[in-house]
Structure formats: structure tokens, C-alpha cells
Amino acid sequence: MITKAFGDSLGAIHDVGDGAIIMFGGFGLAGIPQNLIRALYEKGTKDLTVISNNPGSRLGDHEYGLAILFKAGRVKKYIGSYPTATRSFKELYDAGKVGLDLVPQGTLAERIRAKGAGIGGFYVKTGAGTLLARDKETRLINGEEYILEQPLGADFAFVKAYKGDLYGNLVYQYTGANFNPLMAMAADITIAEVEELVEPGILDPNTIHTPGIFVQRILKGERYDRWYE
């Protein structure tokens, strides 16, 4: 039987090398691939380009998620919408140690979706006439100004779902979907971690959010921190 399953997170990311461009699903700490992030940290991979809505998340005095990669100096460039989510990013940015490509959140989602859907770019109103429209092609459509945005892909997408099967079909829960289904479509290799990994046929085909065609590797996450009281 075909299976895309890997035994653990480190095994699933074995070929992620220095300089890789990686998309990470998640918004705040919801739906982040926390086991794959920890594995990447343990592996020591560096010079990464990270694409994610935020560069980790801060709760009280602690920072979680992607923040461990930034704090360890593994990231050379960040592409996302909300870098102020962590203090560590600001410190690195102010010190000139990390690059920033700021993208409005909806445009980020749609650029990723475009890449996954084979669309070569699109015109959007968001950001027209602002600093972010510098160097972008503009076009008047029905009398309103739009800017041309490019598709955005990556070498790898690390995504997290609630449940998945050995064929890579995924189901998300609550606000845990966010960027995950889009990123799953947009990378050369998509690695999904799930809380429950089941045999094909267990998940109801009517409820699949991400069909397995978009997922190359899947594993059951080792540990799920809950963060909140």
C-alpha cells in the first residue's frame, strides 16, 4: 500500500538543507507545525527564508513557535504580514540581522494560493497607492486602482492539521486551518504533521479540507503544547 507516512519529525525533514525556503502554516500559535519547527531547530538548519503570517508568537514574557529559529539566528529573511508579533524579531531586524519582506495578510494568502493554483499573478486593491505599491505594476479596473501581485512558492511547506491519513488527506479544526491549506498547495514538498494519523478510509471524504495530492509526507506529531491555561 502507498503510504506517505514518516515515523518522526526529524525523519520527515531529513533533506531540508541550509538556505531552504520554507512556508510555515499557522496564525499566532493556532495551527502551527510545532513538531516540525522543533525538529528543524534540533537539526541546526540555517540561512532559512521563512514565509509565515508571523515570526512566532509572544505570550507574556515567553516566545513560542517560529521564534526559536529566529532567536537562534537561523533565519536570513522573513516574508510575512505581522513581524511585531515577537520582540526577538524586532531585535534582529533593528540589528540588521534579518531581512523583511512585508506583505498584507490577504495578499500573502492569495499569492500563496496563486502559486499552488498555477496562476501567474493577480491584481488587487489592497495596498494600492501605499508604500507597499512601490515598484509594482498598477492598473485601473472599473475606475479603481489595483496593483499586480506575484505568486509565492517555496521549497518546503510545513503544515499542521488536526487529522490526516496515510494518503495525505487532511482535516483542520477551529481556526487551525488559516494558511495551512494554501501553503500545502504551494511548495515543492509539503510535510504535514497531524494530531491523529489514520488509515485511508477512516476520514469521511465529504469532510476532507486538503486532498492528499497536495501532501508529500505526513507524520503524527510527537507532542502538542497547549500554551493557554
Binding site: 508579533a85 533593528d94 495578510q105 494568502a109 492569495e110 489592497t126 487551525g176
Partner: protein, 214 residues
Amino acid sequence: MIAGMNEQEMAQRAAAEIRDGSYVNLGIGMPTLVLDFVPAGKTVFFHTENGLLGMGGFAPKGAAHPDLVDAGKQPVTCIKGASFFPSDISFAMMRGGHIDLAIMGAYQVSAKGDLANWTAPGMLPSIGGAMDIAAGTKKIIIMMSHTTKDGKPKLVRELTYPVTGYRCVSMIITNLCVLDVSEKGLVLKELAAGVSVQDVIDNTGALLVIPEKF
């Protein structure tokens, strides 16, 4: 220093603008207080950009789920009849003109209703969903302090901070007053208790239209 309305009173005033059955996006920070003031008997679908229509309120201790949060990354609950969806669908709602009302904060608003709320000189910039809301929402209400902490006007003739969106703000609720944005500029609509017309004029960096009733 004139006090005027406190944050709760501003939130209550903003909540009065919410129509029964409407889809409403609340910005992070002060606008989330509006959740507490939805008039009884009204059904309101609160949208949160990370993929939820029908946000309830902040999750009580012990009931927080790590995958159920709002745009401010706080654990929340959802109402009966809520729905979850990914980011592309969420932003289609915002950019595509489906959200009836957004209530958000601002660094500056111009007399034409131009909005600045994503970055300021010396700040690490962050956008989140602000530009998407500005681009597509039917109605935007700004809830903010009338002046900066050091007393400078946030209502200005022309923005000096980088713009989020042009001509997108309909109404402004500050601690001093409520204003409508019209073709003629900012129109004074209501004064907070203990605040005079002159107080508003003195703390505003743009010309105001003051109707007869004041």
C-alpha cells in the same frame, strides 16, 4: 487634559452602530471591547481574520483551545451557527466587500477619511489585515484617542504617517467626540459629556464642520 469618554463608553457607542444580523470585524486592542456591548436581542456575526465567523467572546479559564483564537491571538469561543475557514476565504470576505462593518484603531485619520494605522517613523512595520479591511469593507469606524500621548492631533488635514487606505473611514469615535466623514470633511456629530466644541477644535488638526445644533 480633557477626559471625555473612557474606553468602555467608546466601545458602547461603537456597538450602537452595529445592525442586527450584520457581519462585523473588530480590530485588535480597544475595538475588542465592543464585544461586551452588543445590545441584547441582536444577532451579530463577529469575523476574525484568522478564519472564524461567529466569534463569541474571550475563552474562560480552562476552556481555551490552542487552535481557537482571534486576530489578537487570544483564545476565544464561538457562537452557535459559527463557521471556520482558511485565510484565502477569510480575506475574500474582507477584500470582496462582504463584511458590513469594521471597527479598528488608527494612528491618524485625515479629513478625507484616509487611514494610517500600520506603521510610523521609527517603528517596525506590521500590516496584518489592516490594508485588506481598508480596501474592501463596506463601512469602517475608527475608535481611538483624540490625540497622541503627547497631545498631538491624530485627526489631520493630510496624513503624515504612511497610508493604509484612502477615503475608507466613515466614522470616528474618540474620547472627545463622534465625527462623520463627509464630502465636506469631518462633521461633528456628538460631544462627549464635559467636552466643548472648542476642546474638539483645539485638539484637531483639520477643519471641522460644526452643525448648527452645537
